[in-house]
């Protein structure tokens, strides 16, 4: 199962500037593990020590919000990583 992960601008330092990455996984947890293998350190910016999505991050599978890491991800889906922005 391959999906596209669209990375929030503040986290692109982990992806060498790439806005999207193709990774594998059937659940959000697996997708994030695949992402971490490619971009070490990025998962901790999104997920805390208790496996909770950090409160300044939101994750969406296509346009539906994923509140748990058990959320299913299907082949061809897009996972959107959205981070609070502070600039004005």
């Amino acid at each position: 199962m391959t999906c596209t992960v669209r990375i929030a601008s503040p986290l692109r330092s982990y992806t060498e500037g790439a806005a999207t990455l193709s990774v594998s996984g059937r659940t959000l947890a697996q997708v994030l593990d695949s992402l971490e293998a490619r971009c070490p350190g990025i998962r901790f910016r999104m997920i805390d020590e208790q496996d909770r999505i950090r409160p300044h991050m939101r994750l969406f599978v296509n346009s539906s919000e994923a509140q748990q890491l058990t959320a299913a991800v299907a082949d061809g889906d897009t996972v959107h990583v959205i981070c609070a922005l502070s600039g004005g």
Partner: protein, 372 residues
């Protein structure tokens, strides 16, 4: 509130739109809109709302115009450099549309003044550059039942969402909590100058729609914009029943300054510019760690300060003696608070935060130091 002959002429293109017409233009004339932050977002929002005939327009900003602002803050021009933003911006808006009542608030928004200021307006636009202000504005809007059009930017990316009381989620539902420092700001990361032009103009669009009652507001939807890919995306956001301010059992019942919250700040000393000055005058030599970016540090800093930009701090904490009780410094106190929290987690003893940062130092101690 009827229109004068000159107003009918000025707004002829609006009057030609059946969706707005004379009734809509009169609603705009009666509207009282507050723009918080006369920066990249506030500039185009203020210009378009003034041009559109928004009758009372408030502009709140405690900063002065700096040359680095002019790359994106189109409310100002080169002769404005050094002037208070609220005053310079108001002057520009009055020149654009003398029919309006423009109110300059040359102060920083705080929990202590937010109720008094927001009470004078019916609609608020958030264009601030600090998360603490974003939460203060959101909470005050929820508590005072004011619609809020919130936008934020970073490098090439922008966000937009509208809150209307009882009609959808608030900013805290979207991001329940965020700490300054976890989220990079424009000074650290840079920003494409035209980016806030897009988002600020969208804020003005939302405001005009809300005032005139046309179209569908961006409630319950987060709009994201990626300028590099020229991509707009939209995400459904729902109200959180456990939201601290608009949820079923709110714990926030009064606006509060995030910086006075003790959340994650226990063990961090708060040091005013005057207190630090006294220490230095007494001959004490605290370890000063300036966590601003290279250009900010180069413009002006305290003598002897160790320079570690916040983004490099996790890798360079070993340069700080755990017993040194360091004083962390940034522009206004946000990034240095994040640095204090990192230091605490790394078992560095008794870190201190210079409250108000170099801006406070320049205002209270040494006006010669240049702060960008």
């Amino acid at each position: 509130m009827s229109l004068s002959a000159s107003e009918r002429e000025r707004y002829r293109r609006h009057l030609a739109l059946p969706e707005i017409g004379a009734a809509g233009q009169e609603k705009l004339k009666a509207a009282r809109v507050l723009i918080v932050g006369a920066g990249g977002l506030g500039s185009p929002a203020a210009l378009y709302l003034a041009a559109a005939g928004c009758g009372t327009l408030g502009l709140i900003d405690g900063d002065r115009v700096d040359i680095t602002n002019l790359q994106r803050q189109v409310l100002f021009d080169s002769p404005s450099i050094g002037q208070p933003k609220a005053a310079a911006g108001s002057e520009r808006l009055r020149a654009l549309n003398p029919e309006l009542r423009i109110v300059a608030h040359a102060i920083e928004l705080r929990a202590a003044n937010v109720r008094e200021i927001f009470a004078q307006y019916d609609l608020v636009l958030d264009g601030t550059d600090r998360l603490s202000a974003r939460y203060l504005i959101n909470d005050a809007c929820v508590l005072m039942r004011r619609p809020l059009v919130s936008a934020a930017i970073h490098r090439f990316e922008g966000h937009l969402m509208t809150y209307v009381p009882d009609q959808g989620p608030c900013y805290r539902c979207l991001f329940p909590h965020a700490a300054e420092g976890l989220v990079a700001n424009c000074a650290e990361a840079g920003v494409l100058g035209v980016l806030p032009g897009v988002l600020g103009t969208l804020q003005a669009t939302e405001a005009i729609k809300l005032i005139t009652g046309i179209g569908a507001p961006l409630t319950g939807r987060l709009l994201t914009y990626d300028a590099l890919e020229m991509r707009f995306s939209e995400f459904r956001v729902t109200r959180r029943r456990d939201c601290a301010v608009c949820g079923d059992a709110p714990t926030i019942t009064e606006p509060r300054d995030m910086s006075t919250s003790t959340e994650g700040t226990q063990g961090i000393r708060r040091l005013s510019a005057a207190a630090l000055h006294e220490q230095l005058e007494r001959g004490e030599q605290p370890l000063l760690v300036d966590v601003r970016e290279d250009a900010e540090f180069a413009a002006g800093h305290l003598p002897g300060a160790l320079h570690i930009p916040l983004g490099q701090l996790p890798q360079r904490l070993a340069e700080i003696d755990p017993q040194a009780a360091p004083v962390f410094i940034c522009r206004s106190g946000g990034r240095s608070m994040a640095a204090c929290q990192m230091a605490l987690r790394a078992n560095i003893r008794s870190p201190a935060n210079l409250e108000g940062g170099m801006l406070a130092w320049a205002a209270d101690i040494d006006p010669r130091v240049r702060v960008v």
